[in-house]
Amino acid sequence: MANENIRDLLKRSDMILIGVCVLLAAGFLLLAGKSAADAGNFLTIDSLFFTAVCLLLALTFVAIPALTLRERGIHPLRVGDEVTPARANEHVHFEGSTRLFLYVLLGLLVLTLVEVFLAYIHVPLSIMLTLLIGLSLVKAAMIVAYFMHLRFERMSLVLTLIPTLAVCICLLFIVFPDSFRTREIRATGTVAQPPAQAAPSQGH
């Protein structure tokens, strides 16, 4: 039943009615959201009433097709756990236990809280930036290695992706020292000149 086409099981007039009901429900939902967003003070009788009525109408228009489909035993979105044809010939490998992923999540949450704490203590800017970026890199490495599974993939893939990104980011940083010069110009109107070269060039 799950994989049959809905069109085989319903008449055309039924499909149109269901479509109209879904559209109206969506419309009322949007109206409810818009009235809630536009209301200056949401907690007034007027705005609460209007929003409630819109939600109720949306619910009604969603219930009609839902109950009809249920009554006829049609579950358009039902999926069973049997192996579908799309998956039958797939070679699937998935390493990593739930416990491992929970540990990674815990580590990420802890590091996030450490970063937030770090933002509120007074350390010199360079130390703070180093720590923040360092911690973010550690978090990024954990996500890439464990959640994105790169730790369990071929080394050739790792070596193709990571150095690419690292090199490009380093290239982006080439112009960064110019920001120090710009800052100095803003502050003093000039840039400290390097000491003059030893001998002027001859023959000019």
């Binding site: 799950a2 994989n3 756990d81 973010s136 050739s156 980011i169 120090f180």
Partner: protein, 218 residues
């Protein structure tokens, strides 16, 4: 022995065709390459923002603990949890437990939507205070009188681009969840890769934009 004959006797390796050198298949490799390119986009934007910030001697640091830092930390926790639920979804899909996979994807989408709602509320606070892309909020003129007007541009551009990625990710996940009976496991894995990338970018955006702009007075 001639060169041609010698070539014919070289050992066949996985790079000779007919094999998957990276063992991941072309769709997944395509998503990885997209992720690397998108990471470069975000890196470029963050580095440009850092340049603008370093080169100015006055940069607003307007985020009070409540609501901005609390909201953004909660958003980070939601996004991290949604990454975990996505891994669980991929695991369920690998074992062909499709209903469980669909539920885990639903939880991931919920985390993403919660992130979006909180982030939009954050934006609304700042816009209400008067922040625009090239104009600072009026009340910031007291604390940061010589600040360049770039705070809004950098903030809205970077967080806006990230929000767009989250929204697209939620829609993509919705599509995968709806069609989970008809797609391969690889497709679920690939959508997982995109979602983790979205989380990854936030790991850098959050400290550099929010935590570096904490308002110590607030």
């Amino acid at each position: 022995m001639s060169t041609e004959a010698r070539i014919g006797r070289l050992p066949a390796t996985e790079w000779d065709g007919g094999a998957l050198p990276y063992r991941v298949g072309h769709r997944k490799l395509g998503m990885w390459l997209f992720i690397v390119s998108d990471a470069m986009t975000f890196s470029a934007m963050l580095i440009a923002y850092s340049y603008a910030r370093v080169s100015s001697d006055d940069w607003p640091t307007p985020f009070p603990f409540f609501p901005s830092i609390i909201f953004s930390t909660t958003m980070t926790l939601f996004l991290l949890a949604s990454s975990f639920t996505m891994v669980m979804a991929v695991k369920a899909s690998a074992h062909n437990r499709l209903r469980a996979a669909r539920r885990w994807i639903g939880a991931t989408m919920f985390g993403g939507l919660a992130f979006l709602v909180l982030h939009l509320i954050e934006w609304e606070h700042l816009i209400h205070d008067g922040l625009r892309p090239f104009r600072l909020a009026d009340k910031w003129a007291q604390d940061w009188p010589t600040a360049p007007p770039l705070f809004g541009a950098s903030f809205f551009a970077i967080t806006g681009l990230h929000m767009f990625h989250v929204l697209t990710g939620v829609l993509y996940l919705g599509y995968i969840a709806l069609r989970i009976g008809k797609t391969r496991h690889e497709d679920v894995e690939i959508s997982g890769l995109y979602w983790h990338f979205v989380d990854l970018v936030w790991m850098f955006v959050f400290p550099l934009i929010y935590l570096m702009s904490v308002d110590f007075k607030g």
